[in-house]
């Protein structure tokens, strides 16, 4: 196929932009911002093109997996816009990109939050803008790479590479605690990711065991499509110190799950998040909180469900329990917190627990809901952090007890904040309701009690979101809030599209289901082992 490598362009154009930035003098902040924004706009154009060109119900034959014996077979998950080149031929690692509905939506979110991140940069809030913008563009490339790669090694490559620009961003911008928080984040992530690396290597050798005696590739594979169609050898449980534990495949799943659970994060692997989110400035958080944590959930769905169907079932309830724990625990912490940024951070823990729960329902409603909720969360968390950031900047404190009655001084912010709060608490009619309802339905189909537990979480969410919103907006003005000014036009223009999207998705979420249902049914089919048409009629 001789088509334009659109997906490669998505990865390369930002890097090109970052290089171009080096030619701009550091003092010319306007030019730097223009270059960054234009680069991202160009990428946004490509992403939009890809999404428009995305076929809702593609012919499965268009996405062929190359088996280890050299033959091809339709991939269980249909990817589009595929690009396939050798990378390290000796070990069968390939540069294999592709997009499915899951990655498509997240890609849209990705470019969205990064564009937002680029727009909110200002000379006032961001020193050394060239450095910053370069890192921003690199982070985008890495996150997009995570979403687009179909090869496990390539996926891991981007997964870890993402940490580098993030490390610089987090360690250079933020309050005085940023150093510790950054190291905590990186260590957490690296520790879990390295476990995943071992699991990836194990998968490779396990696939090698399935090689035909003669002919074929001669080596194992990292390719997701191939791995999905490669039977793994029979597994004996590993015994550690004489105690029989799990099979290697189960261990591998646990390693993957750990990596994703940290990134999401699921309680009890979450403690990096409040620290990190609290010490990071809002312009970084727009994309850091906006996309990075979704990648964990993405991983659960893309790899956890597909490569490890057996272990995913074995440990399903463990993950679900952690997800429920995250929902409730995050909510409780948000409820007792006084730092407005940390409240938002804990709310994020709670929300993302729901996403993971949706994924582990193993049915179309849950998975579709999870996809929607990932996008929603990206929008909400970005908006919330921007708002909280504005409040912090105006008031000079983050203590909810010291800020009150802002509605009087900031009526415009109040409206935005209200809508975002409502979205955050899952108000029916808002975007999150679509996702939450779907996930709850999926969870209900899995086990009714889950829906009830989520219900408790929803009530708590309502409580803490209102506590946050009312806490800063209502009651008589405190001295600290006496002189604050309302939103600038710029700030309002940044928040407006986010809020508009929240309302729009709530009003017309139809595109989500329309685009995703084909791929989602494939995921469900893979994880449940039922054929695609049957898996659709779950229960």
């Amino acid at each position: 196929m001789n088509h334009v490598p659109w997906l490669t362009l998505i990865l390369v154009v930002p890097l090109g932009g970052a290089l171009l930035l080096q030619l701009v003098p550091g003092s010319n902040t306007r030019a730097i911002k223009v270059v960054t924004t234009v680069t991202l706009l160009a990428v946004a154009g490509i992403v939009a093109g890809v999404l428009v060109g995305f076929t809702h119900t593609p012919d499965p034959a268009t996405s062929q997996a190359v088996l280890l014996n050299g033959s091809t077979k339709p991939s269980p998950i249909t990817f589009q816009f595929e690009e396939h080149h050798d990378w390290i031929p000796a070990i069968g690692a390939s540069y294999h990109l592709g997009v499915d509905a899951l990655s498509g939506w997240l890609l849209a979110l990705d470019i969205g939050v990064f564009l937002l991140g680029a727009i909110v940069i200002s000379r006032r809030t961001t020193q050394r803008m060239k450095f910053y913008c370069g890192l921003l563009l690199m982070t985008f490339s890495a996150t997009a790479g995570v979403l687009l790669s179909v090869d496990l090694l390539l996926f891991y490559f981007f997964w870890e590479a993402m940490l580098i620009p993030l490390y610089f961003l987090l360690s250079n911008y933020g309050d005085e605690n940023r150093g510790r928080a950054t190291i905590k984040f990186i260590i957490y992530t690296v520790a879990s990711s390295l476990a995943m690396l071992l699991a990836i290597i194990w998968l490779y050798f396990a696939s090698q065991a399935a090689l035909p005696p003669t002919g074929g590739a001669g080596h194992g594979t990292f390719d997701l499509q191939t791995l999905l169609l490669t039977p793994l050898p029979n597994q004996q449980p590993v015994s550690v110190l004489g105690i029989t534990t799990w099979t290697p495949q189960q261990w591998a799943f646990l390693a993957f799950a750990l990596a994703f659970a940290v990134k999401v994060p699921l309680v009890p692997f979450h403690t990096w998040l409040p620290d990190s989110y609290t010490s990071t400035p809002p312009q970084v958080l727009t994309f850091f909180a906006g996309i990075v944590s979704k990648l964990g959930a993405f991983g659960f769905m893309r790899y956890g469900l597909t490569l490890f169907t057996g272990p995913a079932h074995d440990f399903r309830w463990v993950i679900i329990a952690l997800a429920i724990l995250s929902i409730l625990y995050g909510a409780l912490n948000a409820l007792a917190e006084f730092d407005i940024k940390r409240i938002v951070a804990y709310s994020s823990v709670s929300h993302l627990g729901l996403v993971v729960l949706g994924i582990f329902t193993f049915n179309a409603n849950g998975l579709n809901g999870a996809i929607i909720q990932m996008v929603n969360h990206g929008l909400i968390i970005a908006a919330l952090f921007l708002i909280v950031g504005i409040i912090e900047e105006r008031c000079g404190t983050r203590d909810i007890r010291e800020i009150k009655g802002l509605e009087k001084r900031m009526p415009v912010l109040y409206v935005f904040f209200l809508i975002v709060t409502l979205a955050g608490l899952g108000m029916p009619g808002m975007n999150t309701f679509v996702g939450e309802f779907s996930i709850m339905l999926g969870a209900f189909q899995t086990a009714p009690v889950l829906a009830a537990l989520i219900g408790v979480g929803v009530v708590l969410a309502c409580w803490y979101m209102l506590r946050l919103h009312q806490g800063v907006m209502h009651e008589p003005l405190t001295p600290i809030a006496e002189k604050v000014r309302d939103l600038h036009l710029r700030e309002a223009l940044v928040l407006a599209p986010l809020v508009a999207l929240m309302l729009a998705i709530g009003l017309y979420p139809h595109p989500f289901g329309a685009v995703s249902q084909n791929n989602v049914s494939q995921y469900v089919s893979v994880v449940t082992g039922q054929p695609v048409d049957q898996s659709q009629a779950s229960r």
Binding site: A90, L153, L198, I201
Partner: protein, 501 residues
Amino acid sequence: MHVLAAIPPLKTPSANDLIGLLPVLVMSGGFIVLMLLDLVVPARRRGWLAAGTVLVLAAAMGVTVWGWFDAATPRTIYFDAMSYDRFSLFADGIIIAISALVVLISPGYLNRRGLHYGEYYALILGAATGMMLLAGADSLMVIFLGIELLSIALYILSGFARTEERSQEAAMKYLLLGGFASGILLYGMVLIYGETGHTQLPQIAAVLHAHVNDIDPLFLVGVGLLFVGFAFKVSAAPFHFWTPDVYQGAPTSVTTFMSVGTKVAAFTALIRVFSYTFADSWDKWNGIVAFVAIISMVGGNVAALTQTSLKRMLAYSSIAQAGYILIGVAVQGSLGTIGALYYLAAYAATQIGAFAVITVMSGRGEDLDSYDGIKGLAYRRPYVAAAMALFLLSLGGFPPTAGFFGKFFIFGAAIQGGQSSLALWGIATSVISVFYYLRIGLLMYQRPKEGETHYPWPRTSLAGGGVLLASAAGTLVLGIFVFLIYSVATSAQHAVAATLQ
């Protein structure tokens, strides 16, 4: 009377042997020439010596590259004294390259430190020659001599700042402990010689292969002692004690050189001896190697965790890196060797870069060594700081840098070889290592406070910048275009396997 009939006839070396020795010949020739040149070059023009050294190294590199194609079929020269194969040429290439990089950053550094003497270049070349001999050695005798050649040169280089107490102390420690370790190494060689009747590796391998089920404990003791000797040279724990002290005390450019060169050469020999010559008794010695690997990874990384001296931190880090590479030795299978070679290349590019930053940034007074010295570096020398950060990330094993694929292949080898526990140790300690690498990064990017004085970093010279650029490029190329070095390492592995199995 047939007096001579009773003893074997003498064998005569041929011209082919000389061809196989070409890289070493160029180096040693250059060594002699530079030593003589030093006598005539005026003191103010010692930069010329550096240029001359680089020329020699370039010539050697040319010969090595030529040899890569010439030695498509591996062979041994001088009656199994050395091998002429891609395995040793791989190491030669790295050694020559890092020597060139070190020589490029040296004049500026030595001038600032008031140490710019001509002997320096001759000694660097001498040590490099020793390293190449060690890397190509195919007999115990050449291994020993190679080690001694490089060691003696490095003893002197460590004490090159002869008026400084730290430098003296470093040299003394290195010398005494080095001699001690040489003794242990030699005793191991004796036992192996006594148990096999030979000192040439191919013949030892043949003996072992023929008697694989009948291994004498004494031989294994010899293997163990030999390994101790090697472990000392690659600074693997618990034989690493000299490393931090010597790295810290020696002039930084020397540390740069020896931290990479010694390791590359010694590991090349170690792999040749253990993974291939002793391959048949792998199950007898792999426990010890794995033990040392684990101790190195844990000890190196943990001790580096709370360091406040840059050079010591990098020293402990290099101990840990030795542990990772040892995993490649401890596991059976070609991937272990390939991984170790890849790791060595990656380590060379990265470590030389990291030390080069310290070298290039060292001012006239004390060496840049304390953590305080790099605080806020990014605000004054953004590109240098960025390069340093890249090297640190590579040491930490982040893609898209070289370090990632080094670890990837090593862990892959461990899993393939059924030694997942080693890989687990590896990742656990990698996590620890990330902590202290990133801490340096944080310091460099720490915003300087108003009116705060900082370490007087010198201006970056063209050569210094070039070296940093080259290391950074190498780090990235090894991290992205993996197949380049991977295929090279694979053919190196094929070569060593062909000569010894």
